[in-house]
Every structure is written in structure tokens, then in C-alpha cells.
Amino acid sequence: MSERRVLLIEDEPNIIEAIRFILARDGWRVDTHSDGQTAVVAVRDRAPDLVILDVMLPNRSGYDILQDLRSEDATKTLPILMLTARGQKKDRKLAEKLGVNRFMTKPFSNEEILATVRELVR
């Protein structure tokens, strides 16, 4: 089994640090990207097994990125886990409509995010 790769698109340094630690401990390779504008290109280049996507990113919203990813053949079925600190109902609805696989609200437990990531990449 080859190394499983996660692309974490997030701009909050401490959260990046925390998720990287949790996933790395489980054997994941974690790449990070902090800018919304260039996120889609980063996904294309890195071709990860899973994308963890924040909603509030500098320069571009996570929803827009999600929409772009779902419109490209290469990333149409790519598992995407969305994280948001807002977590209102309409945010979840919008994300699900746009084709997200999972939608998680911050703060999350380490257990929870690890289980979700494992579930999404089989």
C-alpha cells in the first residue's frame, strides 16, 4: 500500500500544525496550502487522495474552490472534507449541494477527524 496523501488547505498556522500532527501520527503524508486563489492548481498538481478544505481562506472562499474541483473530471470524485468555524446550517447545506463528502465544524476532536479521513479514503 502506497503512502496516502492528504492536501490540507488551511490558513490558520496552529490548526495546520494540529491536523498535520494528528494525521502524520496515523501514517498520512500531509501537504499544506494556505491560499485560496491558488488552491485548485495545488490540488491538480499534488493529486492527493483526500483534500481537507477550510471555508474562510484568504483571497478565495472554500465553496468556490469546491465548486471548481467538482467541475473538473480529475477531481470530480475526489474525497473532500470541509472544515468550517462557522458551522451554521445553511453553510452545511451549501457545501453538500456543491458535492462535499463530509462537512465538519471546528472545533473537532482528533479522534473524529482521524476517523473521517480514514473513512473517506479506503
Binding site: 490558513d11 498556522p13 500544525e17 494540529a18 500532527f21 468555524a85 471546528k106 473537532f108 482528533n110 479522534e111
Partner: protein, 898 residues
């Protein structure tokens, strides 16, 4: 019998009449009119038709013209019995329209035209004058019958200075009498209770006197009924032939005069207190006339046979008792004649003076006083004065006519001249109350033409040939124009002068009236009044109900459409038609339909207006001044109401606008709040995420270097501090925004405050620390404010520069100076500043430049600064166009209340 005694009797009689009148007035004032207003009194008051002319003249008439005198009684009898409905109509109109005279009625009917009123008044004055002269002549002759050898006085003869003197005294006496009687008080309805009672007494006196003389003549002089009839059969009277034309003319004339004579109109209409009295009068008055005429022929026949040749038959009633030395009977006969004369003069003078006063004097007086009447008592006095002067003037005219005409014409002839004059009003009167199409122009034309023809063919010739008109005029016409000869108009000769005059005047009068009515248009008021008069009975019986009539439903529909709107009106009419079982949209104009329509219209224009409008169209109701005032009031109210509505609607619109604004603000606030909550959620959850994750990692406690452990603990600590600061800021902002903040105001100097802020932000541990440049010499502005709060603002600004100034050698210039009359402090750094599109929102909550994470602020700093400055009475704003980020703080005014 001495003349002095006769005068004494007259004065005593007048005093008695005055007492009766006074007593009646007093009773009426106390509201106890009772039997004073009985139908009998009304009937007796009508007897002023029988003047001295009838009392004395009928006998003379019979002596000269046989039974022709009967026509004078037949006319009124025909009217009373046969045309009762007409009288009722006149009386009803008189009451509902508050008519005060026949001139008033004509004027009122033709759109309140005072011109017509004046015309009728002039006609009345001119027509009444000969009649008053006639009364003067009668009384004068009867006085002289006692004093001189009366048997030789000829009817067509003497007008001696002595007679004239007597007439003058009598005229003056009658004037005084009438003034005292008729203008004692002013009644709104022009009713004179006292006068009516006095006249009724006089009516009884003259009837009794005439009957007494008649009985005396028949049973004493002639020796019974049989011999009387024999005498009549033997006399030329029984063989007298009268042309049918003259009979018809006379009957018509007396009927017309009965209606149109000012004094008859006065007692018939104005003084009428109850329509029902007409029912009694319709048989009782002809009965009275019958009794008055019963002994006329016997007296004439017996008189002609027993009295000396050349005796004046006009005085037989008086001269026969005198010839037989029956002084008491003679006195009674004298009083009868006196009563006839005085009652006629009093009522005629009252009636005509009312006209003169109302239609001539008052309009002139009111016109002359441009300011109008200011004091009602003032006007009242003027009215009474003008009435009195009119009465005096009228009697003076009568006297003048008596003198000028030379007393030459026989009594009956004078009466007929007057009748013909009065009859000129007839076409306008009849047309006015029966024909809605009669117009003011028509009435004026008819009256004028009739008046002129009457003057020319009857009045002026009455002064006798060579009287007023020259002989040549009679023979050859004026200026030699043959067909204008007074007694042979249009070349038709050989007619009886009376028939000639009546025929032409009435014919031309009526023709002019009809023609000009047809070719002229009515004014709205005329139309209105015309409808009221013609349809007086339609619903004056039931003031609030409608009776069915031949009203055009289409007219009603047209009016309703204007008031209710075309669709609604159509619907209403259709539904009413359907309810009546009719197809189409025009229902029958039934009372119930009219009531329904009135209700509907009331809803849109008000009750009075609805009634008036329907009344106008249906021509039903009489519209009184009060009704019109009500309409005006209603219109005013509707106007006010609609103004109010407009005002209210404006207010509502404003309120709606305000609500819209508020709503927009609320929606904006709601969006803001959502955004704010979302922001807070984000700001709180982000550090909590880190804290939770790292604390869990630390709790796992495995495979971790102590460096890592140290590092993660620091992250947790830092995020906890960040959270705390955020909460502090939120609370602070909340307090500031709600105005719950308590300010700790104290005196200070700007430099001290800035020193404190700089000290608080000093970070010796940071290498590339921000350099702060100040010129403390300028920072001398005295402050009287909460300096802790001001320090907080300065700290925020310095901290912002520390966080965001991206220059290699960051420095911040703090410059104190004054701008716009206020002390200000500018904070200008040398970084890249705030992008133009962000400048407008940096003072909003959580509005940060994008790379805020590095700065680690919560994004509430500037929002708090703005609130603080607002509370302190200062200002903070972004200063665009500087090198880097630039903020200007306008310091609070030290003198302002905070």
C-alpha cells in the same frame, strides 16, 4: 245728522277695529291664536275682494249695465269652487317658499330675479293706485251724501274743491290708519293677525249693512218680495242685453284679479295659516259673495224708481235710507261702505308697501350701504320706515289719481282698469307654477308687454279724453300711427274698450311670455326654483319620502354615474331593475327606488346634497334656503374630511416610508448581526480548535519530544490569551455601543496621554521595533476627558502600526496640530497603508486586512476606537493619501459637556 257726529262715529269705529286688532295680536303673541285662525276668519278676510266698489258700485253697475255686475262675483266663485287645486298649490308654494307678496313669488320662481320683482311691484303700484282712488271717491262721496244735498251729485260729475279736501283728509286718515295697523311689528312671514281679525269684523259689518239696506228696500220701500219682482220685471234691467264677449271677458278678468291682485294674494296666500281653511272658504266665500249680491238688483231697480232723476246710483245704498230718513240704517250703510274701503286700502297698502320695501327700497338701501347691514336692529328700523313711507306714498298716489282723473269715471270702470292691470301677472304666475319651461326672460317680456299695452289701452285713457293723452292720439294714434290708437289697436275698431284692452294686453302678454320662454335658457337657479314650484305637491306632503313620478330614469342614471362612478351606478341601476323584474338597466322610478338611490348617494355626497340633487332632478321637493345651507355645510364638511384624508394619507405615506427605512435598516442590521455572529463564531472557534486539538495531543502523551510538548503548550496558552482578548474586546464594544460605559473624566494634557500609550506598546523584545516620532513641544493641548479611554485608542493605533506596518524600517509619526478649528493627532506610518477599497470599512467589526492572522488581532480594535471616540465627543477617521496607513484622531473639545 251732523258731519262732526259722522267723523266721531268713524273715529270710534276705527278705534274699535284697532282695539280688536291689538287684542288679536296680543293673543297671537301668547300663542293663543285659536279661533282667531279659524277657517271662518280666513273666509271673511277674503271679503276684501268686496271693496267700496262692490258695496256701492255694484248697485250703480246694475243700474247702468243690468246683470253684468254678476260677473264680478262669478269669476272668484269659479276660482274658489272650480279651481280649488290651484289655490291650494299657490298656498303651498307660498308657505314652503316663504313668499311675502305676489312680486316675491314671481321673483322667486324665476330665479330670485329682483328685476321681475320690481316689474311686478311697479305694475302693482300703478294698478292699485286707481283702486285706492276709487275707495277715496267712495268714502268721500258717502261723507258728502250726509253733508250736502247728495241727490244731485252725479257719478260722472262734480269734483269740487270741497270733495277734494274731504278726499285728502280721508287719504291721510287711511294712511295713518294703515301705518298704525300694518307696520306695528314685523313678522317674518308677513302675517298680520290683528289686521286679519279687524278685516273679518269689517267683513261682517259690510255684509250686515248691505243685507239690512236690501231688506229695508225690499220689504219697506217696495212693500215685499212680490212687488219687488214686479218692479224688476218692469225695469229696463231685465231686458238688458250683454254681449257674450263682455261677459266672458269680465268673468275671466275678475277671476284673474282675484288671484293676482296684490291685496288678494296677501289674504289668500300670505296670511293663510292652514291649507285646510281653503276647503271651508271654497264654499263659504261664494256664499258670502252671493249674499253680497243678493239685494244689488232690487236696490238698483227700486232706487231708480224712487230716487229723483239724476241721482248717483253708486250711492243708492246710502242715499235710499237717507231719503227715507232712516238715519241709523244710513249710518250702518255708511259704516259698511267705510269698512269696505278701509279694509281694501289697509290690505292693499300693506301688500304693496311690502313689495315696494322689499324689491325697491331695501335693495337700493343695501346697495347704497356698501358695507352692508351691520346691526340687525338697524335694518329693522329701515324696513319699517320704508314700509311706512311706501304706504303714505301709495295713498298720496291714490289721492293724486283721484284729483287728476277728476273722479270722472264711474266706480265700476275704475275697478275694471285695476283688474286688468293686475291680470297682467297671470301668465307669468300660471306659467310659473305649472310649466317648468317658463323662463325669467319670458316672464319679463310678458309682463312688460302686458304692462305697456294695459297702460296704453286702459290706464291712460281712464283719465278721459284730453286727460293725459291728447284727443288726437285717440283719433289718429300716436304720431299719427293709426294702428296704435289706444282704443283700436292694430286697426280693430268697434270693440268694447274693456274687451279691447283685456284681449290685446293678455294676448300679447301671453304670446311674449311663451315665445321668450321657449327661445331663452334657464339659469340653474331658475331651473331649480321652477322644479320646486311646479312640483310643489310631489313630496312636500311627506318631506322625507319620495312619491312616484314621471322622472326619467336615464337622468337619474346620468347623475348617479357622476357621483358613484359609471360602473357602480350602472350596477346599482341594473340590480334595481332586476329586482323590479325588468330587463335592461333602467328601473321604474318608484318611491322605493328613489329612496334606495338617495341612500346610495348619501353615502357619497351627504344626506342634504343627495336629497337636494334628487329633488332637483325629480323636481319634487321645494328646496329651501335651509336646505341649500345644509348642502353647503355638507360640502364644506366633505371638503374638510377629504383634506383630512389627504393629510392622513400623507402622514400614512410618511409613516410607511419611515417603516420602509426602518425595515431596510433592520434587514441590514439583521444581515450585519448574522455576519457578526458568524464572525464571532469563527473568531471563537478557531482558537478553540487549536486548543482542543493540542490539548488532546498532549493528553495522548506518547511519542512526543519535550520540545514538542513545550511548543504545543505555548500554542494552547497563546490561543487561550487570544480568546480572552477577544472576549474582552467584545464585552468592551458591547458596553460602548449600548452607551453603558461610565466615563472617568479628568483634566490632562495630550503629551501625557501619548506618553502612556507609547509606554504601554513598547516591546523591547522585538528587534525590528516600530520607531515612533513625536514632537512633544506641540502636544500641549489640554484635555478634559476620560484619558484612560483616549489612551486605549492611541494604544490601538500604535499597535496597529506595529502589526501592519510592512516597511523595512517601520516608523510612526505622531503629529499633534489643529485642523478645522479642532485639536487633532495624526498617526502616519510608512507602510503600504490600507487599500483604497478597504478604507471605508476598516472601522467595522472584524474588518481586517486579509493577512491578519500574522497580526493576531481579533479585528475589533478600530471598531472599539471609533466607539470610544464617539463617546468622548471626538472622532477618528482614516486619512487617505498619506505615505502609509494614516489615522486622524480629532480630540474631544475640552469645553464641551461629555
Amino acid at each position: 245728522m251732523s258731519l262732526d257726529f259722522l267723523v266721531f262715529i268713524c273715529v270710534a269705529y276705527v278705534a274699535l277695529l284697532f282695539a280688536v286688532a291689538f287684542w288679536a295680536d296680543k293673543r297671537a303673541e301668547r300663542g293663543k291664536s285659536g279661533w282667531l285662525r279659524s277657517p271662518m276668519i280666513y273666509t271673511l278676510s277674503l271679503s276684501i275682494y268686496c271693496t267700496a266698489w262692490t258695496f256701492y258700485g255694484a248697485v250703480g253697475y246694475a243700474a247702468r249695465s243690468g246683470l253684468e255686475f254678476v260677473t264680478i262675483y262669478l269669476g272668484p266663485t269659479l276660482v274658489m269652487v272650480g279651481w280649488w287645486a290651484l289655490l291650494r298649490r299657490l298656498v303651498r308654494i307660498g308657505r314652503t317658499q316663504r313668499v311675502t307678496s305676489i312680486a316675491d313669488l314671481i321673483s322667486s320662481r324665476y330665479g330670485k330675479s329682483n328685476g321681475l320683482g320690481v316689474l311686478v311691484t311697479v305694475l302693482a303700484v300703478v294698478g292699485t293706485t286707481p283702486y285706492i282712488a276709487l275707495q277715496l271717491q267712495s268714502v268721500t262721496l258717502s261723507f258728502n251724501a250726509f253733508s250736502v244735498d247728495s241727490f244731485t251729485i252725479r257719478g260722472d260729475g262734480g269734483n269740487s274743491p270741497a270733495l277734494q279736501q274731504t278726499a285728502l283728509v280721508i287719504a291721510a286718515g287711511l294712511a295713518l290708519f294703515t301705518i298704525v295697523f300694518g307696520t306695528r311689528n314685523l313678522d317674518a312671514n308677513e302675517r298680520h293677525h290683528g289686521v286679519v281679525i279687524a278685516i273679518a269684523v269689517e267683513a261682517v259689518v259690510k255684509l250686515v249693512a248691505l243685507l239690512a239696506v236690501g231688506i229695508f228696500v225690499v220689504f219697506v220701500v217696495a212693500g215685499g218680495v212680490g212687488p219687488t219682482f214686479d218692479a224688476i220685471n218692469a225695469s229696463p234691467i231685465s231686458e238688458w242685453q250683454t254681449g257674450a264677449d263682455r261677459w266672458a271677458t269680465l268673468i275671466f278678468l275678475s277671476a284673474a284679479a282675484f288671484l293676482c291682485l296684490p291685496r288678494m294674494f296677501q289674504v289668500l296666500v300670505v296670511e293663510n295659516s292652514d291649507e285646510a281653511h281653503l276647503a271651508t272658504a271654497s264654499w263659504a266665500f261664494p256664499m258670502y259673495l252671493f249674499l253680497m249680491s243678493l239685494f244689488v238688483v232690487p236696490i238698483a231697480v227700486i232706487g231708480l224708481s224712487v230716487m229723483p232723476e239724476g241721482s248717483n246710483p253708486d250711492l243708492f245704498v246710502l242715499s235710499i235710507p237717507l231719503a227715507f230718513d232712516r238715519d241709523i240704517l244710513a249710518m250702518l250703510a255708511f259704516l259698511g261702505g267705510f269698512s269696505s274701503a278701509t279694509s281694501m286700502v289697509i290690505v292693499a297698502a300693506i301688500a304693496v308697501s311690502t313689495m315696494v320695501s322689499n324689491h325697491v327700497v331695501m335693495p337700493i338701501w343695501l346697495n347704497a350701504r356698501q358695507g352692508g347691514a351691520t346691526v340687525s336692529g338697524d335694518v329693522r328700523n329701515v324696513v319699517i320706515l320704508s314700509r311706512r313711507l311706501s304706504i303714505a306714498g301709495l295713498l298720496a298716489l291714490g289721492y293724486l289719481y283721484f284729483v287728476v282723473s277728476g273722479g270722472g269715471a264711474a266706480l265700476a270702470a275704475i275697478g275694471l282698469i285695476s283688474f286688468t292691470g293686475a291680470a297682467q301677472v297671470l301668465p307669468a304666475l300660471m306659467g310659473g307654477i305649472f310649466w317648468r319651461g317658463a323662463t325669467r326672460t319670458g316672464a319679463a317680456a310678458g309682463l312688460s308687454v302686458g304692462f305697456v299695452v294695459w297702460l296704453w289701452t286702459s290706464f291712460l285713457p281712464s283719465f278721459g279724453e284730453a286727460g293725459v293723452l291728447a284727443d288726437s292720439v285717440f283719433e289718429h294714434g300716436p304720431f299719427g300711427i293709426g294702428f296704435l290708437k289706444p282704443l283700436a289697436l292694430f286697426g280693430i275698431e268697434g270693440l268694447d274698450p274693456l274687451v279691447h284692452s283685456v284681449l290685446w294686453s293678455m294676448l300679447l302678454n301671453t304670446a311674449a311670455f311663451l315665445f321668450f320662454s321657449l327661445v331663452s335658457l334657464q339659469s340653474p337657479l331658475e331651473r331649480f326654483q321652477g322644479a320646486s314650484f311646479v312640483n310643489i305637491f310631489r313630496y312636500s306632503d311627506a318631506p322625507h319620502g319620495w312619491s312616484s313620478s314621471a322622472i326619467d330614469a336615464e337622468d337619474l342614471l346620468m347623475m348617479s354615474q357622476r357621483l358613484l362612478g359609471p360602473e357602480d351606478a350602472q350596477l346599482l341601476f341594473e340590480s334595481m331593475a332586476t329586482a323590479q323584474g325588468k330587463s335592461g338597466y333602467l328601473p321604474d322610478v318608484t318611491p322605493s327606488f328613489l329612496e334606495r338611490l338617495e341612500r346610495e348617494l348619501t353615502g357619497s355626497v351627504g344626506a342634504a346634497t343627495a336629497h337636494a340633487m334628487l329633488a332637483q332632478i325629480t323636481g319634487g321637493a321645494s328646496i329651501s334656503v335651509e336646505d341649500m345651507l345644509k348642502v353647503a355645510d355638507e360640502a364644506h364638511q366633505i371638503l374638510e374630511y377629504s383634506n383630512e384624508l389627504e393629510l392622513k394619507s400623507n402622514e400614512l405615506e410618511q409613516a410607511a416610508g419611515q417603516l420602509r427605512d426602518v425595515n431596510e435598516k433592520l434587514v441590514a442590521l439583521s444581515v450585519q448581526k448574522d455576519g457578526f455572529l458568524s464572525q464571532i463564531s469563527h473568531e471563537l472557534r478557531t482558537p478553540m480548535t487549536s486548543i482542543r486539538s493540542f490539548s488532546e495531543i498532549l493528553m495522548d502523551g506518547e511519542r512526543m519530544t519535550s520540545d514538542d510538548r513545550q511548543k504545543y503548550s505555548q500554542i494552547i496558552n497563546g490561543e487561550a490569551i487570544r480568546l480572552t482578548r477577544l472576549l474582552d474586546d467584545l464585552l468592551d464594544l458591547s458596553v460602548l455601543e449600548n452607551g453603558q460605559v461610565t466615563l472617568n473624566v479628568q483634566e490632562d494634557v495630550l503629551r501625557v496621554v501619548l506618553d502612556r500609550a507609547c509606554a504601554a506598546t513598547e516591546r523591547p523584545d522585538v528587534k525590528s521595533a516600530l520607531t515612533i516620532n513625536r514632537n512633544q513641544a506641540l502636544e500641549t493641548t489640554p484635555l478634559n476627558t476620560d484619558s484612560d479611554r483616549l489612551t486605549q485608542v492611541f494604544i490601538n493605533l500604535i499597535a496597529n502600526a506595529q502589526k501592519y506596518c510592512d516597511a523595512d524600517e517601520p516608523h510612526l509619526n505622531i503629529v499633534a496640530h489643529s485642523a478645522g478649528g479642532r485639536a487633532v493627532v495624526d498617526f502616519i506610518d510608512n507602510g503600504s497603508g490600507v487599500p483604497d477599497d478597504k478604507q471605508s470599512m476598516i472601522f467595522e467589526k472584524f474588518a481586517r486586512a486579509d493577512d491578519h492572522r500574522a497580526a493576531g488581532g481579533a479585528g475589533l480594535g478600530l471598531a472599539i476606537c471609533r466607539e470610544v471616540m464617539k463617546r468622548l465627543g471626538g472622532e477618528i477617521s482614516y486619512l487617505p493619501g498619506q505615505v502609509g496607513a494614516a489615522f486622524r484622531v480629532v480630540l474631544p473639545d475640552p469645553h464641551a459637556e461629555t
